[in-house]
């Protein structure tokens, strides 16, 4: 569904590339976590899939199409096949829940009738039935994110990209969001979620793609993720150290390729 072939993205010639020779394939129906520290290239990865940016070298294929070959006027059509969710929800504050979700259908010219039948259905999927008339500022963070997810999937995209969707939410609320994403994935949508929430990655036991300084350092079928490890030094002092891929607590048992 998403295939990166030796993709390098350079924003600024002087500094290191944001993505460095990334070669990865995410199949239809996959659920993949994109993990790594800030600045590791997760957001660039998502931008390349959306064709907000173009790869400096290599090619990005989305749904079988090389995105570099899609002419500018076809890009909107390609984006209709991708739903996106962000950490900051990005709801329209002056529209109620129903209108926020309906907006995504209106702007691509869906009929009033199909909007009226589809939106309540999708709101039910994300567990927001009965809250159609609420304004975004009357909702909790978790509910707002559910609206954002509803908006992302209302046009039935084949791919759902989530950029730190639980970044602003507490663990309990995050679980609810993850259940929704899992449900969407079970309905056949490919989900790619950028995150650095260890707990979520470790409890989901899904594919983990780890980026570090623009390089792909790990790709496991059912991986875990540890962002930090507490270390007790010889003198008894303690500190937190950023974890290396080798530090993963449980040995990978379904890794596709050998990682260094």
């Amino acid at each position: 569904m998403i295939r990166f072939e030796h993709v390098t993205k350079v924003y600024d010639q002087k500094s290191r590339p944001a993505l460095d020779d990334i070669d990865v394939e995410i199949d239809r129906g996959d659920f993949a976590f994109l993990v790594g520290a800030s600045g590791s290239g997760k957001s660039t990865f998502i931008r390349l899939v959306l064709r907000e940016d173009q790869a400096s070298r290599g090619s990005v294929h989305v749904a079988g199409q090389n995105v570099a070959r899609i002419p500018g006027w076809r890009v909107p059509r390609m984006r209709r096949g991708i739903g996106v969710v962000f950490q900051d929800f990005r709801l329209l504050p002056n529209k109620d829940v129903f209108s926020n979700v309906a907006f995504a259908m209106q702007v691509i010219g869906k009929s009033r009738a199909s909007i009226r039948s589809t939106v309540p259905e999708v709101l039910k999927t994300v567990g927001l039935q009965g809250k159609e008339k609420r304004m975004p500022n009357e909702l909790s963070g978790g509910e707002q994110q559910r609206v954002a997810i509803a908006r992302a999937i209302v046009n039935q995209p084949g791919i759902l990209l989530a950029d730190e969707p639980t970044g602003n939410l507490d663990p309990a609320t995050s679980v609810g969001i993850m259940n929704i994403l899992d449900k969407i994935n079970q309905n056949g949508t490919t989900v790619v979620m950028a995150t650095h929430d260890n707990d979520i990655v470790n409890s989901m036991r899904r594919r983990v793609i780890e980026l570090d300084e623009g390089k792909l350092v790990r790709d496991e079928r059912a991986g875990e993720y540890t962002a930090m490890i507490p270390i007790i030094n010889r003198d008894g002092s303690r500190e937190l150290r950023a974890a290396n891929p080798q530090d993963q607590a449980i040995a990978p048992f379904d890794s596709e390729e050998d990682e260094a």
């Binding site: 096949g81 329209l92 691509i108 908006r151």
Partner: protein, 304 residues
């Protein structure tokens, strides 16, 4: 659905930016009024030319007592000189240029003078012998005035040869200057209008960046994203153009047709028909200017 959606977006954009939209409307209104006024002045000139050039004559003024010019050195025109001039007008050399001529005696001149200045106190002090007698020559082609001037101005008994057209030219050149000034003001105002439309669209695009960002992500086409902004500018300019056309129509209808044309019935004035010719041009000009400037602005400030 999409049409209703775009209309809704335009409506909310216009409401949100009301003060800017009003200023766009006013600036377009004023600039297009000047453009229209310049066009109407030109039409008025053409109208007057057509009207007057049929009536103007070349006047050959004959000498009276103690006229200063060289050809009048011998004093007032004599009968033989007068008939020599008349013969010349009838001669084969002059005939092709002349449509007809009339002799105006001093008494007739005084009568005409009194008619023309009947409201002025000067009438009572003027006597017939203060006015020159003249031949009023109607030209086949008014442009051929020089021929007559050359032949007659050096003849004995002729004081001066005057082309009435020249007097009109003065009036026309004043009107021309007025219309040029109007065009000049219009150009500056149009420049203002274009910049103002650009600024308004920029503000509008900025205040709706959330919406357009989401539209982009869910795959709305460029047209759906940009059209509301372009139409916002175009509608504001269109309202301005309609106001300008209405104002010009009112001026022509009530000031020119209703007042000037009544007071000066022997002069040709433009009518509301001319405004109807100018108005579509103003509407098109307003729409094109606003459309082009908003498209160019969006290209810079609204990524799609």
């Amino acid at each position: 659905m999409r049409l209703a959606f775009i209309l809704g977006e335009i409506g909310s954009g216009l409401r949100r930016n009301l003060s800017m939209v009003v200023s766009v409307v006013l600036v377009t209104f004023i600039s297009l009024t000047f453009v229209g006024a310049a066009a109407l002045t030109q039409m008025q000139i053409t109208q007057m030319k057509g009207f007057w050039y049929d009536k103007v004559e070349v006047a050959i003024f004959l000498c009276g007592e103690d006229y200063g010019s060289q050809t009048c050195a011998d004093g007032a025109v004599t009968d033989s000189q007068r008939s020599a001039i008349k013969d010349m007008l009838d001669s084969a050399a002059v005939k092709p240029y002349v449509d007809g001529y009339e002799y105006e005696s001093q008494d007739q001149a005084l009568r005409h003078f009194r008619e023309q200045f009947k409201n002025s106190p000067i009438v009572d002090t003027v006597t017939a012998d203060q006015l020159p007698e003249s031949f009023r020559v109607k030209m086949v082609d008014p442009e051929k005035y020089d021929v007559i001037n050359e032949l007659f101005s050096s003849m004995k008994g002729v004081d001066t040869v005057i082309d009435q057209r020249e007097l009109l030219e003065k009036v026309f050149s004043i009107m021309n200057i007025a219309s040029l000034v109007a065009v000049g003001i219009a150009v500056v105002m149009i420049f203002c209008a274009v910049l103002l439309v650009a600024t308004t669209i920029r503000l509008s695009a900025f205040s709706r960046r959330r919406e357009t960002g989401i539209m982009r992500l869910v795959g709305a086409s460029k047209v759906v994203i940009q059209l509301p902004f372009v139409l916002e500018g175009v509608i504001a300019a269109l309202i301005g153009a309609v106001l300008a056309s209405g104002t010009l129509w009112a001026v022509v209808r009530y000031l020119i047709q209703g007042k000037l044309a009544v007071e000066y019935p022997d002069t040709a004035f433009i009518a509301t028909g001319e405004v109807l010719l100018v108005a579509p041009g103003l509407l098109v000009l307003g729409v094109v200017l606003a459309g082009v400037s908003s498209v160019l602005t969006l290209r810079r400030y609204l990524k799609v």
